[in-house]
C-alpha cells in the first residue's frame, strides 16, 4: 500500500497491462506490485486515460434496436442495493488472495529444501509456472540459473542476493543467463510470488537428480 518499492515493472509492461494485452501470469505479478506501489498506480491511471481517449474516439457502431430495452430489462432483475466496496484490508494483493483460496494454499505448501517452501497455483494457463515461495529467516537458497524469464514480487518480508535487498512490493525480472543466490532476511520469513516461463537450471552438479519442476536443491 505504501510507496517504498524500489524495483518496478517497466513502462512497456505497464502499458500492456493497461491495454489488457499482457499474458495472465505476468499480469498477476504486475497486479501484485500495484497493490504495494502508488507510483505505478498513478502511472497506470495515466495509461488508462490514453486507452479511454482512444476508445472514445473509436468509430461508434449502431446498436441493435432492442439493445437498450434488453439491458433495462436485465436491470429490473438485478435491482438491488448497490454493493458498497467492502474490500477488506488484506496484506496480500486481491489476485493472490483469490488464487490462495482457490488453491487452498495453507494445505499445499511443500518443502523444497531446509529453508524454502513452495505452493504452486493453478492459473488456467501453462506458459508460466506461478507459485509462492517462502524462505525462512536467514535461509539460503542454492545458486541457480534461469532458462526462461522469471518475474518475482516480494509479498512479505525481504530477501537479498548479490546485487541488492528486495523488499515488499519490489518487482524483479530475471532473464535467461542470470545466475543468483537469494537469501532470506535474518529478521523474518520472506514470501514471494513468482512466475517462471521455463524450469530453472541448477548450476549445482547434482541438479540432474531433481525433478524438472523442482527448482531448488535440497540441502
Amino acid at each position: 500500500m505504501n510507496n517504498t518499492s524500489q524495483f518496478h515493472p517497466d513502462e512497456t509492461m505497464l502499458l500492456e497491462f493497461s491495454a489488457g494485452t499482457l499474458a495472465t501470469a505476468p499480469s498477476i505479478c504486475v497486479s501484485a506490485h500495484l497493490h504495494f506501489c502508488s507510483k505505478c498506480r498513478n502511472q497506470l491511471l495515466r495509461l488508462d486515460q490514453v486507452g479511454a481517449q482512444l476508445m472514445s474516439e473509436a468509430k461508434p457502431l449502431e446498436l441493435e434496436e432492442d439493445a437498450f430495452d434488453a439491458v433495462m430489462a436485465n436491470l429490473d432483475n438485478t435491482e438491488q442495493a448497490p454493493a458498497k466496496s467492502d474490500a477488506k484490508v488484506s496484506r496480500f494483493p486481491f489476485s493472490v488472495d483469490k488464487l490462495m483460496k482457490n488453491n487452498l494454499v495453507s494445505q499445499t505448501w511443500k518443502r523444497l529444501s531446509g529453508s524454502v517452501d513452495v505452493a504452486r497455483f493453478e492459473t488456467g494457463q501453462d506458459e508460466f509456472e506461478v507459485a509462492l515461495h517462502k524462505i525462512c529467516a536467514g535461509g539460503k537458497t542454492p545458486k541457480h540459473d534461469h532458462q526462461g524469464l522469471e518475474y518475482t514480487v516480494v509479498l512479505k518480508g525481504s530477501f537479498s542476493d548479490e546485487n541488492a535487498v528486495y523488499r515488499e512490493g519490489d518487482f524483479l525480472i530475471r532473464e535467461p543467463g542470470d545466475v543468483h543466490q537469494p537469501m532470506g532476511a535474518q529478521n523474518g520469513e520472506c514470501i514471494c510470488l513468482s512466475a517462471l516461463s521455463a524450469p530453472i537450471k541448477l548450476t549445482n552438479p547434482l541438479g540432474f537428480l531433481m525433478k524438472p519442476w523442482l527448482r531448488i536443491n535440497p540441502m
Partner: protein, 217 residues
C-alpha cells in the same frame, strides 16, 4: 467533506511542500457530464442518467469490441459486450470514485476487462480461476493525484493524441484498440520490437504520460 464546502471557489488551494499535494477535495468537483451522470446512477439509481450513459457509451463500446483483433473474436461480441459492460456499469456505479478517474476512464477499464474475459472464455477450454477484473482491485487510498492534475493530464492526452505522427498513433491503436501485444504489433508491422517500443515511448512522452528522462534503449 461538508466541513470545507464553505470555502469560496476562488480561494487558493493550500498545498504542502512534499510530493503529496494537500487538496480540499470537495472544493473541486469533477464536472464533466458523463461523470455527473455516473455519480447519479451510483447514488440515486437514476435510470434517466443511465439511459443517457447508454446512448453515449453503447455505440462506442460496440466499436471498441469490433476493433479487437484477438483470438476468440466472434461477430456477436459487440452486442454482447455492450450488454455486459452496461449492466456492470449499473451494478458497480456505487463504487465509482469520481476523485480517482473520469467516467470515461472508469468505463474504459470495465470494458477492457470484460472484453478480455469474454474473448478468453471463447478461446480457452481451461478453467480460469481469475478474471481480468481481479487484477484491478486497488487498495482504497487517499487519491495522490488531485483532480486538477488529473484533469490536466486528461486534457493533455486528448489534445496531443490528435497530433501524434501517424506511425505512433498507429501502434497505440493496435495495442489499445486491437488488443495486440508489442511483439504482435512488431510482427504485423514488420518492425523490430525495439522500434515499436521506442515509438510507443515517444508517443507517451508527447502526451506527458511518462516523463522523458528515462534512458532510451
Amino acid at each position: 467533506m461538508s466541513l470545507v464546502t464553505s470555502i469560496p471557489k476562488n480561494q487558493a488551494i493550500p498545498r504542502t511542500n512534499g510530493d503529496r499535494v494537500a487538496v480540499f477535495k470537495s472544493a473541486e468537483k469533477r464536472s464533466d457530464q458523463w461523470s455527473q451522470l455516473l455519480i447519479s446512477v451510483g447514488e440515486n439509481r437514476d435510470r434517466q442518467a443511465f439511459a443517457q450513459l447508454f446512448r453515449h457509451f453503447g455505440p462506442l463500446l460496440k466499436g471498441f469490441a469490433h476493433a479487437s483483433r484477438n483470438e476468440g473474436w466472434f461477430p456477436g461480441l459487440g452486442d454482447d459486450l455492450v450488454q455486459e459492460v452496461m449492466i456492470k456499469v449499473w451494478n458497480k456505479a456505487a463504487g465509482y470514485n469520481a476523485e480517482k478517474a473520469s467516467a470515461t476512464t472508469w468505463i474504459y477499464t470495465v470494458a477492457r476487462n470484460c472484453r478480455i474475459d469474454m474473448l478468453r472464455r471463447k478461446s480457452n477450454t481451461q478453467h480460469l480461476p481469475l478474471e481480468n477484473e481481479d487484477f484491478w482491485h486497488e487498495p482504497d487510498e487517499e487519491t495522490p493525484i488531485s483532480l486538477l492534475q488529473q484533469k490536466r493530464s486528461e486534457d493533455k492526452v486528448q489534445s496531443s493524441l490528435a497530433q501524434l505522427p501517424k506511425e505512433q498513433d498507429e501502434i497505440l491503436r493496435k495495442v489499445y484498440l486491437e488488443g495486440k501485444s508489442h511483439a504482435e504489433a512488431s510482427a504485423e508491422l514488420g518492425l523490430p520490437l525495439g522500434t515499436v517500443k521506442s515509438r510507443v515511448r515517444l508517443a507517451l512522452q508527447k502526451m506527458q504520460v511518462i516523463v522523458s528522462t528515462e534512458s532510451q534503449e
